[in-house]
């Protein structure tokens, strides 16, 4: 179960799009998973042949649970499908009456083991509860494929059942007051992540007012040549400027993980999208710094549409290296954002408004947007943040290069 965002702890498999024996290539969508936020298409990251599907449809499992096994490409698919979910072993006693006992072969030493036997006193023994071991036998689950969640990492019955080839139906009342309410679950997830951000991330904030006269004039000319559907929105200029500017500012583009900053080598721009009915999601526009404005526009339209019907891809959920929030669409003048951990920066754009503006000793009325930056002071300093906002401004003064 991939982590589809820092706030995700569990996911439910909604659909398997492959079956054992299917050949898959990197990037193929193999399953659809429901996080608390959305239905996400899970991509595969290796070429190969699907071995076993370990988590059945409908099962909710923690992040990190093995969902399926994949065998090296070229493996015979049919064979690779591994003995179909082993039938529960029949008790030996039941077999006894069916056939007369065969004469016992003379006792022989076991053949030499092809692999070194595991020492009895393993340094890191796999801990399995007695009940889990019994359950694994009944369900035909290989304990080697199961991750433990119990005390001291022991494998418990729930872990075994999660790894079972078929869903285990056990009559059990759901915990009181635990209604599966996605709205509430999303609120909880946002609450946890934002609280973590404000608790752990030392934010600093900068803002810059940017004259949009040239950018909007250029956009007006461009749009005259476009069909109605292809027209660009001003927000695409802002996204493009932010993406291209951050490419030059690696200390703002990446992740703070385990006490250190890791710069990302590509720019995957998270786009904050508010959902109908409440909630917020910020999937990635991959390589946004290298997209043309038309491609960006198409990408944003596609993301918004899919986010709102709840169909995003796993890479879109986990990849953003920096996020942009454009609350100007809601009419606000500026936004001081909260960073999405483990990202280290969040860019905000307010509404483009006509304002009195002094330039070259003259007072005029210009369309102005306020760009803000919330950045993680562990990863960067105000000097870098200021340079980044200035770079965005410069980009917006040369819209033809966007």
């Amino acid at each position: 179960m991939p982590s589809l965002g820092a706030d995700m702890e569990f996911g439910t498999v909604l659909e398997w799009l492959v079956k054992p024996g299917d050949a898959v290539k990197r990037g193929d969508i193999v399953a659809i998973v429901d996080t608390s936020k959305a239905e996400i298409e899970v991509e595969i990251f290796e070429d190969g042949v699907i071995g076993k599907l370990l988590v059945p449809v409908g099962e909710r499992v923690p992040v990190g649970t093995v969902l399926a096994t994949i065998l090296p490409a070229g493996t015979n698919g049919a064979k690779a499908a591994v003995p179909t979910p082993a039938a529960p072993p029949t008790p030996a006693r039941a077999e006894a009456p069916s056939a007369p006992p065969e004469p016992r072969p003379p006792m022989r030493a076991p053949p030499p083991s092809p692999m070194p036997l595991r020492p009895v006193h393993d340094e890191h023994p796999v801990r399995v509860s007695p009940l889990a071991r019994r359950t694994a036998e009944q369900l035909g689950v290989d304990l080697a494929t199961v991750a433990g969640s119990g005390p001291q990492g022991a494998i418990t019955r729930a872990d075994v059942e999660a790894a079972a080839p078929r869903p285990v139906v056990r009559h059990r009342q759901p915990p009181r007051g635990a209604q599966p309410d996605r709205q509430a679950a999303m609120r909880d997830a946002i609450a946890a992540l934002m609280a973590r951000s404000k608790r752990e991330v030392p934010h600093y904030y900068l803002e810059l007012q940017i004259d949009m006269t040239r950018a909007l004039a250029w956009l007006h000319e461009e749009n005259l040549q476009q069909s109605l559907q292809e027209r660009l929105l001003p927000s695409v200029l802002l996204l493009s400027a932010a993406a291209k500017a951050v490419k030059a500012m690696p200390e703002l583009n990446g992740f703070w993980i385990d006490g250190a900053f890791r710069a990302a080598d590509r720019v995957h721009l998270g786009v904050a999208i508010s959902l109908r009915g409440g909630g917020l999601i910020a999937p990635a526009l991959h390589d946004a710094d290298r997209l043309s404005l038309d491609q960006l526009m198409a990408g944003v339209r596609d993301l918004v549409q899919r986010a709102r019907i709840g169909r995003l891809r796993s890479s879109e959920m986990s990849d953003p290296t920096i996020t942009v929030t454009n609350l100007g669409e809601r009419g606000v003048d500026l936004v001081h954002g909260v960073i999405y951990p483990p990202q280290v920066a969040l860019v905000g754009f307010g509404a483009v408004r006509e304002r009195p503006w002094a330039a070259d000793g003259m007072l005029g009325v210009r369309p102005i947007v306020t760009a803000t930056l919330a950045a993680d002071h562990r990863a960067s300093d105000g000097h870098a943040g200021g340079r980044f906002l200035t770079l965005i401004e410069h980009r917006l003064q040369r819209p033809e290069e966007l």
Binding site: P130, L131, R134, R176, A178
Partner: protein, 332 residues
């Protein structure tokens, strides 16, 4: 508000009602112990009984546990049905020779010629700032002794109902009244209350973990269960009621349903009833266990006098909650 056919009653009053009922029902029954007469009992259980039944049947004794427990054994062997009150379980150590070497063995050593139908009531447990000579929970020591039956009423119903079957039993029966329960108040049906003295009771049904407890820690276990239930973990609470012989069947059946167990015992962990129960679960339900059996016991110190230290030494609901959450793999 009182429900029709029931009365509001305290644990202390329920015990008194049971003694009174037994005295009225059987002329062989009498009560003796330190201060049970004129003073009304160190914990007020026998208040008013001297006036009603007179000094022959409500007998104040000298300060010698060995003497008056021994007298009780003799009276029981002679055909009476004595109820002996020992002020605290700590003080019963002075009578341990009588309890162990006489009460528990005479039936066996006489080849069944003598029964010892004696009931000894004693206060146990801490939580009242009466320090280390009045506060311990030594039920586990006495539960070691074959020939005795040990009861731990933790509810009003058991406080009211356990005495009659205890007096009817031909063997010595020890009843442990936890000092923190005397003021517990609730509703109890008017008239006779009939309970058995063989079985443990499930005080709260649940599916995720079995909390095994008895006596004064039952309220702590139930409080922990409520907190856990609010967090989506559904505990079952088993009240042992009878500490010897233990009702293994009820405990094992519960663990077979929940697959996890936490034993909550106000005794010290080492060599405790909690240890015994844990071992029995391992012996009889090993393959049902989804986690090791856990125990929450008192700190292994003489019970402290200062309130904050005493409370810190006792099994408290947050510790039970934390242990359960650890067993089910939830974040603590």
């Amino acid at each position: 508000m009182t429900i029709a056919g029931t009365s509001t009653i305290t644990y202390r009053e329920a015990l008194r009602a049971a003694i009174r009922e037994a005295m009225l029902a059987d002329a062989r029954v009498f009560l003796m112990g330190e201060d049970v007469g004129a003073y009304g009992g160190s914990f007020g259980v026998s208040r008013g009984l001297l006036a009603e039944f007179g000094p022959d049947r409500i007998r104040d004794t000298p300060l010698s546990e060995s003497a008056f427990v021994g007298a009780g054994i003799g009276a029981a062997m002679g055909g009476m049905r004595p109820i002996v009150e020992v002020m605290t379980v700590n003080f019963c150590l002075l009578a341990l020779d009588q309890i162990m070497n006489n009460a528990a063995t005479i039936t066996h050593m006489s080849g069944g010629q003598f029964a010892v139908p004696l009931v000894i009531r004693m206060t146990t447990g801490a939580g009242r700032q009466v320090a280390a000579q009045h506060s311990h929970s030594l039920e586990g020591w006495l539960a070691h002794i074959p020939g005795l039956k040990l009861l731990a009423p933790a509810t009003l119903e058991d406080a009211r109902g356990m005495l009659a079957p205890a007096l009817a039993d031909p063997n010595p029966v020890l009843i442990f009244e936890h000092g923190s329960l005397y003021n517990m108040e609730g509703e109890l049906p008017d008239g006779d209350v009939t309970v058995d003295i063989e079985h443990a009771a499930i005080r709260r049904a649940g599916s995720d973990v079995t909390l095994v407890t008895y006596g004064g820690t039952l309220p702590a276990a139930l409080a922990a269960a409520d907190q856990l239930a609010a967090g989506g973990i559904d505990p079952e609470v088993v009240d042992l009621r009878v500490l010897r012989p233990l009702d293994d069947a009820t405990v094992i059946a519960s663990v077979a349903r929940t697959h996890r167990a936490v034993v909550i015992d106000e005794g010290w962990r080492s060599g405790s009833l909690a240890a015994e129960i844990s071992a029995r679960i391992m012996e009889q339900a090993f393959y049902e266990l989804d986690a090791p059996v856990a125990r929450v016991c008192s700190a292994e110190v003489p019970m402290p006098y200062p309130e904050h230290l005493e409370q810190a030494a006792l099994p408290q609901p947050p510790v039970v909650v934390a242990e359960v959450r650890r067993l089910v793999g939830a974040d603590v």
